[in-house]
């Protein structure tokens, strides 16, 4: 017989769908089926059952083979590496729960390391812009119940957040939006005709890299000032028409993603997008929200913020927190060669960092804590597989609108495997002995 666990949280993207249903065997050892999840979420749950999973830590030998070691030896290597390093980098934290992040922060503070999460290559520039101009935002339920102007700027939820449109932004029938999709106008700004753009009422096919100019043109259009004929490949009539459509809504929302955070202008693109939202609040009610990628990158930012005061790129080498992306952020630290030990957890810099940064940490002592086989574990000295967070162990995580949801353990991890929190506690206790801290 099998039992169905309802209200399960999907540990993949920032939408954090919490209405999944998972069918497990009676003894809770086997996961059989997943309902209500998108294709990526289903794959994540089912992959936890694959037979060729790595279940024991292993050291990378010079000739390319792997030698299996115990968790204690792995914890010893990690603790020694972090304690000896002059400037270790502890990167990742986005696919693990807030409890493991708190233990990781203690390790970072004792060993005086730099810690950073995947915001460095995802919404880091958003956080810089928020620090310059603030963030008029709301929770996803407000959008579901009230929003009638939805703008997707530089993001492609059809691919990156598959259920976002059906759970929150376009299709749901909220309290004041009972006609669902019919009561909403959708605008998409993207240099490609993405699958999201194909569903939009208005698609502004912008020239790539010119978001800052188009956003500035919108602000000029709100004030009815002079505009040049074409801005970023969009004629000025279409800009004024889009501006009026935004002003005429009762509750508007701008979702923005990698299109603005990763292209030229970076934090200023989001700075201007937030300024557009702030201006629109003079005419009607408008909010803006970043489409966070990982399911707990927001949580990592929150835990860093209430323990150290900064949301990411925190440098603890002086015993207290310092912050300045460009100086303390992972990519710059690696490319400038400022780091002499690399600790990765809950992310995959090997695949998602520029290769010049990956080359740097391929030749220094490095530990990768990840249940999967990834390019990071491929170039790391020690690979420590842990239980799948969100599938085989629970813990708190934060949605893209900073709402905390406690995700749940649905199936037992393979025999003898530790969770990331248990492994980090081993490392912390050993580091405390090495550094003689109380």
């Amino acid at each position: 017989m099998t039992k169905t666990i309802p209200d399960v949280i999907c540990p993949f993207c920032g939408t954090l769908c919490d209405d999944l249903e998972v069918v497990v065997s009676d003894d809770g050892k086997q996961l059989l089926e997943v309902y209500n999840a998108c294709v990526i979420g289903t794959e994540k749950f089912l992959h936890s059952q694959s037979k060729d999973r790595v279940t024991r830590p292993r050291m990378h030998q010079p000739d390319g083979t792997w030698k299996e070691v115990s968790y204690d030896e792995a914890a010893e290597y990690t603790a020694q590496m972090l304690a000896k390093a002059k400037k270790p980098l502890m990167y990742g934290w986005s696919s693990t729960n807030c409890e493991a992040q708190s233990v990781g922060n203690e390790i970072a503070e004792i060993t005086r390391a730099c810690c950073d999460n995947t915001a460095a290559v995802c919404h880091g520039t958003t956080l810089i812009a928020v620090q310059d101009i603030g963030l008029p935002s709301c929770t996803l339920g407000e959008i579901k119940n009230r929003a009638d102007r939805i703008i997707f700027w530089g993001c492609n939820p059809a691919h990156a957040h598959p259920r976002h449109m059906s759970r929150y932004s376009i299709f749901p029938r909220g309290f004041f939006t009972s006609k669902g999709q019919m009561s909403r106008k959708m605008i998409v700004v993207d240099p490609r005709v993405t699958d999201t753009a194909k569903m939009a009422d208005v698609h502004l096919q912008i020239e790539q890299g010119k978001d800052y100019e188009l956003l500035n043109a919108l602000r000029v259009a709100f004030k009815g000032e002079w505009l040049p004929d074409v801005v970023a490949g969009i004629p000025k009539e279409k800009i004024r028409e889009a501006a009026d459509m935004m002003k005429s809504g009762r509750f508007g929302i701008i979702f923005f993603g990698m299109g603005v955070t990763q292209s030229l202008g970076k934090n200023h693109n989001i700075d201007e997008a937030i300024a557009v939202t702030k201006d629109l609040n003079e005419y009607t009610k408008f909010s803006i929200m970043p489409m966070r990628g990982h399911y707990n990158v927001t949580g990592s930012g929150e835990v860093f913020a209430w323990q150290f005061g900064f949301p990411y790129s925190v440098d603890l080498t002086r015993g207290f927190a310092r912050y300045n992306p460009g100086d303390t952020s992972s990519i710059d630290l690696l490319i400038r060669g400022e780091v002499d030990a690399m600790f990765t957890i809950g992310s995959d810099p090997g695949a998602h960092f520029p290769i010049s940064a990956v080359k740097q940490f391929a030749h220094i002592p490095s530990v990768c804590i990840d249940p999967h086989l990834t390019p990071t574990s491929g170039v790391s000295k020690l690979h420590v597989p842990v239980a799948f967070n969100g599938v085989e162990t629970g813990g708190n995580c934060y949605r893209m609108d900073n709402v905390p949801i406690d995700c749940r353990k649905v199936v037992e991890p393979p025999e003898g495997m530790l969770t990331d929190e248990q492994f980090l506690i081993k490392v912390r206790d050993r580091v405390r002995q090495l550094k003689g801290a109380a």
Partner: protein, 132 residues
Amino acid sequence: MATINVNLISGRSIQQGVAIEGGKEKPAYRTAAGIIELDPSDLKKLGTWKNTNVRVTSDHGSVIVKAIETTQGPHPGLGFIPMGPWANSIINPNTYSTGMPTFKGVPVRVEVAINEPVLLGIELVQKQCGVK
């Protein structure tokens, strides 16, 4: 053989999402992210059939990927490689001191390279880092 210059962007795709959760050591990851989506007009300028291997070179590196016809176009003059080791072998690491590399908006040159294989994800990174 003809070469074309396009502006490269990278980003998520649902196939890439499924592949990273399915295991990056598997060929499915290469099928999902070891590709460059080009507009049919650009493919015509390149003078090649779709689904052929091409070498994409930028000021920061070069990589072999399979050129396919765009699924989300038209976007003439714009190439799209899903985020992953293939894209990150050639994107511009300059962060302009904001901590964020320039993943989108990298001028690249594309030329046909029929006989060169597209490497697997982990293999590609290990080879470039000189780690066995």
